[in-house]
């Protein structure tokens, strides 16, 4: 039993962090694009901004449990299977990306427009403005977003557990919901709560270290 719970915890941690990583790899560039193509920004482009914004809204509107099922053909294509931790990473990453894009956009909006103007006046390229001004200046807010995203992903990954993704979600579902084993279910809950606390506390700590405002 202990071994089962340990493995479940490990699987949940892997699913959360790996999909969080891929979610950022996909979502952060989208967030940058969303921000710089806004009206009045450095790469203003109504068409790109409108399309991107609509696609993100669509993906954010799909309930995660449906996204998992809906994406099964694509998941099989990428992961070779639709069952297990590896397969769960695909919908988790895709589910997290639009969420991260919106939160990153919000972080960039908090950066004073004067800083972007100063960088333009100094002859910075668009890439330099993004890399040397927007991302570093929005870093505390991006890290805070990362903590929120990881916590959301812990929840999503347990939902995935109900349809064969493994991890604590599957244990809680099988032993608690199917098997009426209240003790195991409560232990699973306690472990999930502990994970959420650890992520949020670590996030707050890093934000304090990086925030010089």
């Amino acid at each position: 039993m202990v071994e089962l719970l340990l493995r479940g915890t490990w699987e949940t941690v892997v699913m959360t962090f790996v999909s969080g990583f891929f979610g950022f790899v996909l979502g952060l560039p989208l967030g940058v694009l969303l921000y710089i193509t806004r009206t009045g920004q450095i790469m203003e482009n109504r068409a790109i901004n409108g399309i991107l914004s609509a696609v993100i809204n669509v993906f954010r509107a799909i309930p995660f449990i449906i996204l998992i099922v809906w994406m099964i053909p694509f998941t099989r294509l990428v992961a070779g299977t639709s069952i297990g931790v590896g397969a769960a990473l695909v919908p988790l990453s895709v589910g997290a990306a639009p969420f991260i894009a919106r939160m990153a956009e919000g972080g960039f909006l908090e950066v004073s427009s004067g800083l972007v103007e100063a960088a333009r006046a100094m002859g910075a390229t668009t890439f330099q403005i993004v890399w040397k001004v927007l991302i570093p200046e929005a870093l505390p807010s991006l890290i805070n977003s990362a903590a929120i995203t990881l916590i959301t992903l812990i929840g999503y990954s347990t939902m995935g557990g109900a349809v064969g993704a493994g991890g604590l979600g599957q244990i809680g579902y099988q032993y608690g919901y199917v098997g009426y084993d209240m003790t195991t279910m409560n232990i699973v809950l306690a472990l999930l709560v502990a994970l959420v606390f650890i992520v949020q506390t670590a996030g707050n700590f890093i934000v304090r270290k990086t925030d010089h405002r």
Binding site: S112, G114, L115, E117, A118, A119, R120, A121, M122, G123, A124, T125, Q128, K132, V133, P136, E137, L139, T210, H212, R213
Partner: protein, 230 residues
């Protein structure tokens, strides 16, 4: 050094067109400190932003150091901007960088080698009297100190021109005086041409060699002998 020819700038917002500048022509001579004075809304900010094309004039020509900026490619424009320093009312320092890294910023943009950056940053911080603050973050500095950092940053690439956008408007009178003295010193020692905009007459009187009055997007007076300034 700077020549604006028949600059008109219109902003379109929804269906409405507002004219911020109408047929403005002016010349800033090499080595001068030229002040543009006017109340808020007169078009001063738009005017100074036309000099490095942060704003593109709707009509007219911008000639800086012999080059017509309106005809440059975007890459060439970046190079011109790197040779024109600019400071702002609200300083616009990066909160995520220390004082020395803020000064290093424009040098990083054109890929200056690290050892050269370190040498130059030290030199500039010495010039503005902030060597001890090198490793502090801007949030720890006073307004006057922040503007000194901004000046050091603006001078990093040895510009021939310095643009000052209401650079002392957020500072108290005593600090204003020290910043103006620093600008004067930079102008004299390094022979840097300065164009500044302000709404304060005492700024113009204390350091400018030439003055232009702007109102409603038009030039309404020029030179200290003009009745506007007497």
């Amino acid at each position: 050094m700077i020549e604006l020819r028949h600059i008109t700038k219109e902003f379109r917002q929804g269906g409405r067109v507002t004219r911020a500048l109408s047929d403005v022509s002016l010349t800033v001579k090499q080595g001068n400190i030229t002040g543009v004075i006017g109340e808020s809304g007169a078009g001063k900010s738009t005017l100074i932003r036309c000099v490095n094309l942060l704003e593109h004039p709707t009509e007219g020509e911008v000639i800086v150091d012999g080059q017509n900026l309106m005809r440059l490619s975007s890459r060439e424009l970046l190079r011109v901007r790197r040779s024109v320093g600019m400071i702002f009312q609200h300083f616009n320092l990066l909160d995520s960088r220390t004082v020395s890294d803020n000064v290093a910023f424009p040098l990083e943009l054109n890929h200056t080698p690290r050892t050269e950056i370190n040498r130059r940053v030290q030199e500039l911080l010495q010039l503005v009297g902030l060597e001890e603050k090198a490793d502090d973050y801007p949030s720890k500095l006073s307004g006057g100190q922040k503007q000194r950092v901004a000046i050091a940053r603006a001078l990093a690439n040895n510009p021939k021109i310095l643009l000052c956008d209401e650079a002392t408007s957020a500072l108290d009178p005593a600090t204003t005086a020290t910043i103006l003295a620093l600008l004067k010193e930079i102008n004299e020692r390094m022979n840097i041409t300065i164009l500044l905009i302000t709404h304060e007459m005492n700024v113009v009187r204390s350091i400018c060699t030439d003055v232009i009055a702007l109102s409603g997007g038009r030039i309404i007076g020029q030179g200290f002998e003009h009745q506007y300034f007497i």
